[in-house]
C-alpha cells in the first residue's frame, strides 16, 4: 500500500520528496537517466507524466515539455513501457500523472490493468474531479492502485471531506491558484491551509506548485508529509543538464 510505504519512510525522514518528469522529454533515454539520477539522490516517490496535447493545468515549462515529447513521437504505449522499466529497475513507488483523455481513450480499466502489471502504484489525473471519476475509482480499486486526488485553497471544507472519502495513498495539495511553475510565497497562509487539509483527511499530504529550494522544504516540514518538486527540476535539467540534478536534490533536505 502506498500509504504504508509513505508512513514507514516518514518514520526516518521529516519530509519526503516527490519529483516529476515528462516521459520522453527531452528523449526517452534521457528520461530514464533523469529517473536514475533522482532515485540515486534520495527521492522518495515520483510522478511520471504521460504527455497530452492539451495540458490545461500545467504552466509554460511543463506544457512545452509535453509538446516536445509529442513532437518526438512519444506514444502512450511507449510511456507504459517506460513506467514498467522504471518500476522494475528502481525501488521507489512510481505514479502516472496525466490527463483523463489518455486513460479514457486507452480504456480506463485496461489502463489500470497495465499500471498494475507494470508495478505502478497510483495515478494523478488533474482534470478528473471525483464527480466524474466513478469508472476510474472502480478500476483503481480493483487493481489495488491509489487514485491521488487534489485539494486546492479554494476547496471548501465540506468538499475536502467528500474528496477524502474517495482518495487513497495521499492527497495532493495545490499550494495556490494558478498553474505549475509560478512562484509561491510560503507564508502563514499556506500553514493555515495545510492545517485545514490535515483536518479533512487522515491520509498523508503532499504539497506542490512552486516548491523551489531548501527553505521552502524547511518551511513545509511538520506541515506536509511530501514536498513536490516539479517545474524547478525540469528547469534545472534544461539549464544545466542532468548532471546538476543530483546535487540539487540532495541539497534540498540537508
Amino acid at each position: 500500500m502506498l500509504e504504508t510505504y509513505i508512513r514507514s519512510r516518514l518514520a526516518e525522514k521529516k519530509i519526503l520528496l516527490m519529483t516529476h518528469i515528462v516521459i520522453g522529454y527531452p528523449t526517452l533515454a534521457a528520461s530514464l537517466e533523469i529517473v536514475r539520477t533522482m532515485v540515486d539522490a534520495g527521492v522518495d516517490l515520483m510522478e511520471l507524466q504521460i504527455p497530452f496535447s492539451e495540458p490545461i493545468a500545467d504552466g509554460p515549462v511543463i506544457l512545452r515539455a509535453n509538446q516536445a515529447a509529442l513532437a518526438n513521437g512519444v506514444t502512450v504505449d511507449q510511456c507504459l513501457n517506460f513506467g514498467r522499466r522504471a518500476a522494475r529497475q528502481f525501488p521507489i513507488p512510481f505514479l502516472y500523472m496525466t490527463y483523463y483523455n489518455i486513460l479514457f481513450k486507452h480504456g480506463v480499466d485496461r489502463f489500470a490493468d497495465d499500471m498494475q502489471l507494470a508495478g505502478l502504484r497510483g495515478a494523478i489525473v488533474p482534470d478528473l474531479p471525483p464527480e466524474e471519476a466513478a469508472d476510474y475509482l472502480d478500476a483503481m480499486a480493483s487493481h489495488d492502485l491509489s487514485p491521488i486526488f487534489i485539494y486546492s485553497p479554494t476547496t471548501a471544507d465540506a468538499r475536502m471531506n467528500s474528496i477524502a472519502r474517495v482518495a487513497d495513498g495521499f492527497v495532493y495539495c495545490v499550494a495556490r491558484k494558478g498553474v505549475t511553475g509560478d512562484q509561491t510565497a510560503f507564508s502563514r497562509q499556506i500553514g493555515d491551509y495545510l492545517a485545514r487539509c490535515r483536518a479533512a483527511t487522515h491520509l498523508p499530504l503532499a504539497l506542490g506548485f512552486g516548491v523551489q529550494d531548501r527553505s521552502d522544504i524547511k518551511f513545509l516540514e511538520g506541515k506536509a508529509d511530501i514536498a513536490v518538486i516539479g517545474t524547478q527540476a525540469l528547469r534545472l535539467v534544461e539549464d544545466q543538464g542532468v548532471a546538476a540534478l543530483g546535487d540539487f536534490i540532495r541539497d534540498l533536505r540537508e
Binding site: 479514457f104 486546492s152 498553474v179
Partner: protein, 408 residues
Amino acid sequence: MIKRGYYGNFGGAFLPEILVATFDELEGVYHEAKNDPLFWQDYEQLMSSYSCRPTPITDAQNLTRHFGGARIFIKREDLNHTGAHKANNVMGQGLLVKRMGKTRVIAETGAGQHGVATATMAARFGFDCTIYMGEVDVERQRPNVFWMEQLGATVVPVTDGTRILKDAINEAFRDWVTHMDSTHYVLGTACGPHPFPEMVSWFQSIVGKEARRQFLETEGRLPDRIFACVGGGSNAMGIFSGFFDDDVELVGVEAAGRGLDSGEHAARLCSGDASVGVAQGYKTYFLQDGDGQMRETHSIAAGLDYVGVSPILSDLKEKGRVRFEGATDREVVEALRLTMQKEGVIPALESAHAFARAFKEAPGMSPDDIILINQSGRGDKDIFTIADAFDDPKWKQFIIEKAKQYHA
C-alpha cells in the same frame, strides 16, 4: 458529489480542483438569472438597443428562382453589432459578470469575431479585458486584432501548441485558474465544462425564438428545413433551439475543408475521423488520434477550425434529431460568390457553409417547402480572408501598392 451537465453521454465538467468553486458560483448565478423573468427582459432590451435585435429574416427570392426548388429564407445574424451572432452570448455573459461583481473578462478567439464582441462588451460595461488568440490567427486576422486593441483590450498571442483556437482556450483557462476572483472567462461557444454549453445555448436561443415567431407572423407556418454552420456550435444551437419541438428538419454543416477523405477538415460529427474523448473540460466528439492526442484541423473559415464540438450537438446527433453534413472550402467559396451576386448579402465564410449545403438540397425540394439558412455572420469585414479565398488579382495589386506606401 454528482455529475452535472450531461446531455446523453456527452458534456460534464472535467475541471481542475482549483476551478470547481468558480464554476459553482457561475452555475449559481446562471440559474438565478434563468429563473428571473426580468433578466431575460433586460437582456432583450439590451440587445434591441445596443445590437440590432430582432434581426430580420430575408426572403431570398433570387436564390429561390435560381435553384427552382424550395423557397429560401435567411436569418440575418450578420446584422448584429460586431457583425455576428457572437454578440448575443457576449452581452448575456456581460450581464452575469455584473451580477457576480467581477471587474475583468478574458476570452479566447479564433477568427477574432468573439474577441471583438467581448472587447465591445467590456468597453460598454467598463471591464478590463484580455483576449487570447493563437499566434497563427493573430497573423491572419490583423483587422480584428486592430479593433480589439482600439476597443481597449489586451490581445495576447498564444505561441504554444498548434497556435490556433484550442490553444487560445487552454491559455484562457490558465489565466482563469490564477485570477478567478476578479475575472470571468467569457467562453465563446456552446462547448467547455458545464454550465457553458447550456448557458451559451440559452443566450443564443434568442435567435431561434425570434425566427419561429417571425415565420408564424409573416408566413403563417414554420420552415421545413433549417441549415446552420457548426464550429463549436453556438449559432446552430441558437437557431435550432427554437424548433426542437416542431416537425422541422435541422441540419448542421461542418467544415469539410479539402474534403472529408483528405484528413484536412474540421468535421467531427459528419466524418468517421472523430471519436469520443475528454478535453478542455468536457466530453464530446474530438478529432484526435488513437492515443487521445488532438489532431490539427483545417478549414477556410477560422471560426469552424476547432477539434471539439458542443456536447449538446453530439447528443442530438446520436438521438437523430439533427443531421450533420460537410461543405468543402471550394463549395463554400462558390456559395458565397453566388449569394453576393444574387441577393447582395455577404455571409461570413463560416456561415457560407450553411448556404453551400442548403444550395445542394434546395433543387430537390418542392416549391411549397421552405428552407431557412442562419447567416451567423457577415463577411465584408473579413475582406482579407475572403479576397484571399477568391484569389482576386486586383486586391493583391492594391495590397502590394499599399505596402509600398508604408515602406516609403
